[in-house]
Symmetry: C2
Subunit: 241 residues, 2 copies
DNA sequence: CGGGACTTTGATCCTTATCAACTTATGTGG
DNA sequence: CCACATAAGTTGATAAGGATCAAAGTCCCG
């Protein structure tokens, strides 16, 4: 069988925007063909959910485009966002029984989905893929632990400043790529105020007040609800500590 | 060469307390022999540090006995404990340049240490090991994300109740193993009050007050500073939500 | 334009941090 | 073995940061 096509149609992987950044980066053409055969692309509307906390873990996916949120709730209904996934990030829980958190698209998104059983089998037979997945999972664990410092020890100002800086960095590769200063000074927030609050462990009112304060102090500008311009990156970094 | 011995002495792995639970569980005798050859055992005193945040990542290790803490600090010196490692847990950052957090023994401990370069090479040549490490890392990521909910959305009472329940569960395998109710009702805390505060993102005073309150309410008993007896597990679970 | 969702702003309250004093353990040398 | 020193933990008083409750303002999309 030609590695470039599958029963499900053409091999999307060759033209994939994240071909060189996702966990499939190290696979050769034949392997990519096999992976392509068990996966399929799926478009998601902003707000659409693809994984539900507590469900059997049936799907895993790569994010190709857009921003996804991983979240859970306390029993009294307060949400906590556990992480955000950007293009080339991996989603879902391979080698596990249940999905440990819900996953929802924040923006219109594009993902590459696999049945977990298919993916697990493929991964076990392809150590190169498992290795990439391991490196990615280790990086994600580091990032998550850094976020714990934010949640456990930072005040509202430090939290929002850190969030804005990280968002700018993470959005960078997708937009332009000035190498000198990678992070865009101007960007569009993939999250509404309430969602930012859920990421930072704050209330929407506190987030709003901090935005207003930073704007008054000239650190940022807010041309519209979803737009942010960083006017004084150094000062913002100082606030984030 | 006999797989049971190395230049550094006998193969400790065969009698290792965590032989069947750590990432080396799936290796056969020959492989274990090779791993044994590049590792060495090390005893740590309570309070001894083996990894420093920001250093080059030169070491990785398995915890054999004792409890280790992973921690980082804000620039103004407040500590945040990022996680605790119990026997059979893996420590350190393979495939990475720098150590992302400090690691210190909370109790007298026993670890099995590898040069990261040796370990990385061995792992890449042994997919079975990499797979175990991947599963462990995924589990650790899940656990860490659950901890984010605690840090971001729980109040002091919920935090301490959750901490006591998790500590009881994690200490279980080391102590007795009643299968009916695995978690011991009575156990010794591996952490001092200040360290508990650093785990939970609270101050020592708040932790102390919560301990006193729970004791007054008959949920727990505190025979000594480091000892805890759970008197009403159900009530404790209700407090943790 | 008009309605609904999202956001900002204001007033007040509550939890937890902070500061300070006191108590209880742990350990050391006379 | 006890007295004293030091570290660890508890308790109390006060303050501050953020939550909560309430209302007004703004944007967006039909």
């Amino acid at each position: 069988m030609d590695a470039n096509t599958t029963e499900r149609g053409v091999n999307f992987c060759h033209s994939c925007a994240i071909r060189n950044r996702a966990i499939c980066a190290d696979l050769d053409n034949e392997e990519i063909g096999m992976l392509n055969a068990i996966g399929r692309r799926r478009r998601l509307k902003a707000g659409e959910q693809i994984l539900w906390e507590g469900d059997d873990a049936v799907l895993v996916a790569n994010v190709i485009e857009g921003v996804m949120k991983l979240s859970t709730q306390t029993s009294d209904g307060k949400e906590q966002i556990l992480g955000l996934s950007y293009p080339s990030d991996f989603l879902g829980r391979p080698f596990g029984q249940t999905t440990p958190y819900g996953v929802e698209a924040l923006t219109d998104a594009h993902v590459c989905v696999f049945q977990r059983s298919d993916f697990d089998r493929f991964a076990r037979e392809h150590p190169k893929l498992e290795h990439k997945l391991l490196e990615r999972t280790l990086t994600e664990l580091d990032r998550t632990r850094r976020w714990m410092l934010l949640l456990g020890r930072m005040n509202a100002e430090q939290k929002l400043a850190s969030f804005l800086l990280e968002t700018a960095d993470r959005l960078a590769p997708a937009s332009c790529s000035f190498i000198a200063d990678e992070a865009p000074v101007h960007f569009e927030l993939p999250l509404a105020r309430q969602q930012i609050a859920d990421v930072l462990g704050l209330t929407i009112e506190t987030v709003s007040r901090q935005f207003t304060k930073m704007k008054k102090e000239g650190l940022i500008d807010l041309p519209s609800r979803r737009e942010v311009t960083i006017l004084d990156r150094q000062a913002l970094e100082d606030r984030a500590e």
